[in-house]
Assembly symmetry: C2
Homo-oligomer: 426 residues x 2
């Protein structure tokens, strides 16, 4: 066994031991732990900022873009916001211990399906350093131990934040090793974590498609994936076109760089001209580039925008997550064609219909096989906060265990407790 | 692309199309489909029996054991039982469409978390031919399309049964391709299925550890695993020893070859002698071989059994699923030591405590991290039928999505439907 292998296995062993201790903790203890973690982050402001300065200067040398450097950089205000983000989690309701169902069998056996922590959660990420505290605190709140493995570009910041979190845990009488950061940014560490199904109950990769696919191909345990959102809105013949304009503008322009922004709009043929005069023009005014199929291009190209522009779409535009002020536009004959397009080109993330026809809307809501399906609302609501969950680990594009906004409840599982009086099977 | 690759991809494409059609079907239609499938199996009795005769004679030539040949063999009575098993599923409650939760956000958006089919379920098995109909009908009932890939030893029977099921579906106006059997018993077919995450939403391997591990290492989609049950019972100092005897005998002897049979008993030191005089003797009478740690061996070796026997355990005996009239026995000082043993040696399947001390029992029920935890009952109740679920796909040893008995509900997932009146995100 290599030294690295032994090191990673020890992370697993310690996490499993910590998870057992957490299984004995009360909700109150864990909430005190959360508050102590927030205090510890605040107290470690100096250490965190100097560690972060190392990452930022390394990033500058590596030639990271200004946007990436901004995402990486911490300030006193950002550390305070991080601590507050942790503190807020203490106030959320704790799903652990909830009785999901309880029933008694004819032989008198009482069966309780009860919500319990998952155990040990692995988070492999390459994003901003605050993922370290965000993810770890949600896991701790729900009684899970966490093994974090962040990217090399924020390694110093991550280590400083994780150290603060562990100190907070210890101060609250909880096992410091309930939160561990793997300080090895080597790719091999990811392989070793993915093989450790004895100690890791689930892995959540947070980052680009390449990272997720690597984890999926290596992992022996369940992986909760957060893939692209190619979100689609269908504007039906019976749509209120004023409402359509507001929804499409919001779904495309309010924050184009996120997974729940709309990427394709399908317009029913009969309302194409009016839709373009209203929504099309409004999109141009917002600087949006429309990638149109031939039919919509014939209309769009006559609109003479002051900003934005219309171009003919290529086939791949309907399979692209633009994450930008770019929108694919296609004309369809009706609901059937829209459903087929969504089935063939969507990513099962968030898709919606805009219509005043309730029967049509209900058919859409039933048949579209996506995590979140909308009738007359912006796709931008696919979000733990907007759902009222108070926090989120991310938006799962998986179908099993966690689908759509993944929050505290999705960090738990269940077990069955059977209470008997000597029952034996006949 | 190889010809086999193209063939397997076509299975996937057809299954996805069938799943879309099933998403439009009503519960009533699917139940009529289930009844038509039962009729079709009965009507195809001759074809199924002649196909089965080919498998049995091939098995005989290959030198399969008498027990294996018996598992493989179908008779008119077994075909009738198979048809009845299918028919029974029609009467079970359908979980699809259940509103899990519904709430309204302050902005008026109504969010409904609703139970839906998973989509396309892959079943890879090497067991008896009736898995073909059992698994397929539970999937169909819950609106899922299935791709089945059985083992080579029952290939002719499987094809005949699957053909009958498809005929039944078509007769009921449902897509015949909602149930497809891959007639390729080549190992490569398994690899190709495991890579097809675009069309298969989940894979359930049914069979030996080797098969499950192959699927786990290849699959790009979630796998629901049914691994070993190393089930453990702890007889505490406060146990009613008469009850302990009944429970241990039942859990070990009623059907030793199944995953929920007990494999290790831990006995608290103070009650060892009395336990051995009562339960130990009863186990010997049933012909059980006890593999004892040194301390229990000192007592057991003086019991002079008429049947069964006591031997000194090797270390591996405490990590073995015997599936036979063999039981590992170990003395512990108390609850803590029992919990540590279960954590280190159990398989998180079904573990129990026998005690009259409620506080001790509740601690056990809370801390043991197994799918099913028992207080004063036999571990043999871990079973979909015994839980009142009416049917089961198997006993999942996974923690996510399906844990413990996996039945109709575990063949579904959920999605969120959001009904709005033009809401946009601020």
């Amino acid at each position: 066994m290599s030294e690295l292998q032994e090191t990673i296995l020890n992370f697993g062993r310690r996490a499993r031991t910590a998870a057992r201790a957490l299984a004995r903790s009360s909700s109150e203890q864990r909430n005190l732990g959360v508050l102590a973690m927030a205090d510890a982050i605040q107290a470690a402001e100096k250490e965190i900022l100097s560690a972060n300065a190392l990452d930022v200067s390394a990033g500058r040398e590596k030639g990271l873009s200004a946007a990436m450097l901004d995402r990486l950089s911490l300030t006193a205000a950002r550390v305070a916001a991080m601590a507050q983000g942790v503190r807020d989690v203490a106030a959320l309701p704790d799903p652990v211990g909830e009785v999901i169902r309880r029933w008694t069998r004819p032989n008198g056996l009482e069966i309780t399906k009860i919500r319990v922590p998952i155990g040990v959660v692995g988070i492999i990420y390459e994003s901003r350093p605050n993922v370290t505290s965000d993810a770890a605190v949600l896991c701790l709140k729900t009684g899970n131990a966490t093994i974090l493995r962040g990217g090399s570009e924020s390694i110093h910041s991550n280590v400083a934040i994780a150290n603060a979190l562990s100190k907070g845990l210890a101060a609250a009488g909880l096992p410091a090793e309930a939160i561990q950061l793997v300080p090895v940014t080597d790719r091999e560490a990811v392989s070793l974590l993915c093989a450790m199904d004895k100690y890791l109950d689930v892995i959540v990769p947070r980052g680009g498609k390449g990272l997720i696919e690597t984890v999926v191909s290596l992992a022996r345990m369940p992986v909760i994936k957060h893939y692209d959102g190619i979100c689609i809105l269908y504007v039906a013949a019976a749509a209120d076109l004023g409402m359509a304009r507001e929804i499409v503008i919001n779904a495309k322009c309010q924050r184009p760089g996120v997974c729940n922004a709309v990427e394709t709009v399908l317009v029913q043929r009969d309302v194409l001209e009016e839709f373009m005069r209203s929504t099309g023009v409004a999109l141009f005014e917002k600087g949006v580039e429309l990638r149109c199929d031939a039919e919509s291009y014939a209309v769009a190209s006559h609109l003479a925008p002051v900003a934005g522009r219309a171009v003919l779409a290529e086939a791949k535009d309907f399979d692209t997550e633009f994450l930008d002020l770019v929108l694919a536009l296609r004309v369809v004959g009706g609901l059937e064609e829209a459903l087929e397009h969504i089935e063939a080109h969507g990513s099962r993330h968030s898709d919606g219909i805009i219509t005043s026809d309730e029967a049509e809307a209900e058919q859409f809501l039933q048949e579209v096989d996506s995590a979140t399906v909308y009738w007359n609302a912006s796709t931008r609501f696919t979000d733990g906060g907007e759902f009222g969950f108070g926090a989120e680990i991310g938006i799962s594009t998986d179908k099993l265990h966690a689908r759509g906004p993944m929050a505290l409840e999705e960090l738990t599982t269940y077990k069955y407790q059977l209470r008997g009086t000597g029952q034996t099977r006949i």
